[in-house]
């Protein structure tokens, strides 16, 4: 169950039609959090770490073979399992090719 990176996110076109999760975003994408769809203490923990509705996140890194996803949220680099990232619904803001350029 390794989620493929959607074309739209990879090429930089904002995608408003289909719901996306943190696990779908390519490295360098910027998105706003919608909800954390984990209704248990783990989900609460993610929210407490800053994944609140409207919070901007940048995808910093994706681990190999379905490994962890690292995002920057409120000045801090958070790593989470791919399965957890898939539970964070987001609205892609831009598919910037990282902030390197």
């Amino acid at each position: 169950m390794s989620p493929r990176i959607p074309k739209a996110a990879a090429t930089g076109t904002p995608n408003h039609s289909q719901p996306q999760t943190l696990a779908d975003l390519a490295v360098g994408s910027v998105a706003a959090v919608l909800t954390v769809e984990l209704w248990d203490s783990l989900g609460d923990r993610l929210v407490e770490l800053g994944l609140t509705p409207g919070a901007p996140v940048v995808v910093l890194r994706r681990g190999l073979w379905g490994g962890p996803v690292q995002v920057r949220v409120r000045d801090f680099a958070l790593s989470l399992h791919r399965a957890q990232a898939a539970a964070v619904r987001v609205q892609a803001l831009a598919g910037l090719e990282a902030q390197r350029g």
Binding site: D44, G50, P68, R74, L78
Partner: protein, 736 residues
């Protein structure tokens, strides 16, 4: 323990002057330098860092402030929140509300990472809601400055209410100011009040409902209601029977962000924090990537990063596996020299024997682990202090997660291939007690270096003559490699199984923070080495010495060797040879060898070996190997000299490959080792927990003999079963 001070402190706070004995609690997110501040305040000699043992510990130390006050500083576990979803959070909450038997803290110092304020301020708000006077320590100001953040301290103070003290705990900058702020707040608690959040109507209505749920909450302040509303159900039920369940029935989880009241509390706190930070923090270089980010581009790169990871772990393993050997050998030689001295000083009696073969052997058996432990911990301290350990955990996370293990379990498991004792100690780098326990339980399955002489004994005896596979791969080498694979695969399987049964945990949620890279500080590394070294030598060493003495007694008593008649016969043979001839020397040695053989056979260990024969016969082992199993409790490689003694080979202190091979060939000639029996023996040694040093370390690290006994039972049970399958299955297939 601080009960006498309790009443004194309580009286003090009610008076106008600051109390003479202050209770100061330190709390904060993980990685905020809280422990560094604690060490600065208390002089660091209070305890070994990072919550040793499996249960969360609370630490307290003394600090003498400039004003002649004595503080008792309580170091609370690092937490992101106080909702008590984890044991650490439960401890932190209970400590802040006086539920742990300690007095209520007079002042709570909330340590904040100044370069990462939003998330840290969430905890400050929660502490403030509990009603304790607070002082915020804005730690790591240097890192914030480097990141281009300019903090308006006065504005922050205005926005949140309590004193804010900029500081750098690593250098000690700002400690004096923090001291003064704590004293001011102790004298006038109102100064430390964190301003309340303006809650939405939805939250205010919910809080009123909470108030009506239980009579105990009728008079509770708003902050307390907030905690109950969001609190973990089980923790709340423990504090007030039924209340947690009642609140969860009344406020069920709502599957959308604005409907869920618990989420709403967090959202509104963050809304307040975000708004305040807009005016309090100025970004000089927005969007600028830090040095750490750029280093991570390389060290976390899918190719370069993994390559560098393999190289660094290879170096660490090499250091523990090989570089420690000369030092360990020197320690061994030193202990041997000491034994020889004692042998000369004391007359030949039991006391001398117990001193040399029991006590000194036990002390030597402890010290011999020290080089490995110190080298491993120097390596880990460098990895941890520099910030690389968190990156290594990120890289291997996918692999480890498949077995329900966190990425950080990698280093303990890798080091266990050299020796499980330092490997188990290395599990301390993991914050979650459940992760630590799981790692400690499976670490003995890694094929450690003490198993190698046993593998050599078997392969040299029964597989040396086999033609190489594919023309160049030796059968023995392949089988030894298979033993390493067997241990590793079993460890992953056991971890997977325990995650689903004994130690459920929360599926090892990886919520990793990557601390910025830093140069490791030699003082830190040296302190870790000293603490770990002393701790192991004193605590675990005591158990090892005691067990060595017991094992010595088992293998010594009741001391029945050659009978007088036999001795007379053999002596007659000696005198029949020419004086000074090689035959005479040989005949003389034969007497001693035969005597030692008989003594061992007739000892308690010998009887034990014979007693367990029915249990191990189905595995293809006779009573002689049974004695070997008893003897190898000291260390697995002891099997080789014990077998030498039983098979009447002359003893040799240094167990090298040639010696192991020679002993193995004697066993093969006697029919005790066949290819199938040898394979069964190797499988048994690969899996079984025979080493009481490991057992003592597990007992010490888990603070529980229950878990040590569990490890003993499950590992030996699995070893027996697998050997049985190999031997009986092999026989059924026609092998021998």
């Amino acid at each position: 323990m601080a009960d006498q001070e309790n009443s004194q402190a309580a009286q003090g706070t009610s008076a106008a002057s600051p109390p003479q004995n202050l209770h100061v609690a330190l709390c904060g997110n993980p990685n905020t330098g809280k422990t560094t501040l604690y060490n600065r305040l208390t002089g660091a000699r209070a305890h070994v860092g990072n919550y040793p043992g499996i249960t969360v510990e609370k630490r307290a130390g003394e600090h003498h402030s400039g004003g002649g006050q004595r503080w008792t500083v309580h170091d609370l576990p690092g937490t992101y929140s106080l909702t008590a979803h984890s044991p650490e959070e439960e401890i932190a909450h209970h400590a802040l509300t006086g539920r742990l038997g300690d007095p209520l803290p007079d002042v709570v110092v909330v340590v904040l990472d100044a370069s990462n304020l939003a998330r840290n301020l969430l905890l400050l708000l929660q502490v403030g809601e509990l009603g304790r006077p607070a002082v915020a320590a804005l730690n790591m100001m240097d890192a914030a400055e480097k990141a281009g953040l300019v903090l308006d301290i006065a504005a922050l103070q205005q926005a949140f209410g309590c004193p804010m003290v900029p500081m750098v705990a690593r250098t000690g900058q700002g400690i004096a100011e923090l001291e003064q702020a704590v004293q001011r707040v102790a004298a006038e608690p109102a100064l430390g009040a964190v301003g309340a959040t303006h809650w939405s109507a939805q939250v205010v209505a919910a809080l009123e409902q909470v108030r009506e749920v239980d009579a105990a909450l009728a008079q509770a302040p708003q902050g307390e209601l907030l905690w109950w509303l969001a609190a973990d159900r089980e923790v709340a039920d423990q504090l007030q029977p039924g209340l947690g369940s009642q609140l969860h029935r009344q406020f069920p989880r709502q599957a959308h962000a604005d409907g869920d009241i618990r989420r709403l509390l967090v959202h509104e706190r963050y809304a307040r924090i975000d708004a305040a930070l807009l005016t309090c923090v100025q970004r000089k270089r927005p969007g600028q990537r830090s040095t750490s980010d750029r280093v991570d581009d390389v060290l976390l790169h899918p190719l370069a990063g993994v390559g560098l990871f393999l190289v660094s772990m290879g170096l660490l393993f090499q250091a523990v596996f090989a570089w420690a050997t000369p030092v360990a050998d020197a320690v061994g030689a030193l202990m041997e020299g000491l034994s020889a001295q004692v042998q000369q000083w004391l007359p030949d009696n039991l006391l001398r024997d117990v001193l040399i073969d029991g006590v000194l052997a036990g002390v030597g058996g402890t010290l011999v682990f020290l080089p490995q432990i110190l080298i491993l911990f120097a390596g880990i301290a460098l990895l941890e202090d520099s910030g690389y350990l968190a990156r290594a955990a990120f890289l291997v996370d996918r692999l480890m997660a498949s077995a329900g293990l966190p990425g950080k379990a990698f280093v303990p498991l890798l080091s266990s291939h050299a020796c499980a004792v330092p490997g188990i100690l290395a599990a301390r780098t993991m914050a979650d007690p459940r992760d630590r326990l799981l790692t400690v339980l499976i670490a003995p399955l890694m094929s450690c270096s003490a198993r190698l002489p046993v593998y050599t004994l078997v392969t040299a005896a029964v597989f040396a003559g086999s033609p190489p596979v594919l023309g160049f791969l030796s059968v023995g080498g392949l089988i030894v490699a298979a033993m390493y694979g067997l241990g590793f695969a079993l460890a992953l399987f056991a971890a997977w199984l325990f995650r689903r049964t004994l130690i459920p945990g929360r599926g090892a949620p990886l919520l990793l923070e990557m601390p910025p890279y830093r140069w490791p500080r030699p003082r830190n590394v040296l302190r870790v080495l000293w603490d770990r070294g002393v701790d192991f030598t004193v605590q675990t060493g005591a158990t090892i010495v005691a067990l060595t003495v017991v094992l010595w007694a088992l293998m010594t008593f009741p001391r029945v060797g050659l009978s007088d008649a036999e001795r007379a016969t053999m002596s007659a043979q000696v005198t029949s040879t020419a004086a000074g001839s090689p035959e005479r020397a040989k005949a003389e040695a034969a007497i001693e060898t035969r005597d030692a053989q008989l003594r061992l056979e007739n000892s308690l260990a010998g009887h034990l070996g014979k007693a367990i024969e029915p249990a191990i016969a189905p595995l293809g082992f006779d009573w002689r190997i049974g004695i070997g199993l008893v003897g190898s409790l000291a260390a697995r490689e002891v099997l080789v000299p014990v077998m030498a003694q039983i098979y009447g080979r002359s003893a040799q202190a240094d167990v090298d490959d040639a010696f192991a091979a020679d002993v193995g060939q004697s066993m093969a000639r006697a029919g005790a080792l066949t290819p199938l029996k040898g394979l069964s023996l190797m499988v048994f040694f690969a899996v079984a927990m025979q080493c009481f040093n490991t057992l003592a370390t597990i007992g010490r690290e888990t603070r529980s003999w229950k878990w040590a006994l569990f490890a003993l039972t499950y590992l030996n049970g699995a070893a027996w079963l697998l050997s049985l399958i190999v031997y009986q299955g092999g026989r059924a297939l026609g092998f021998s």
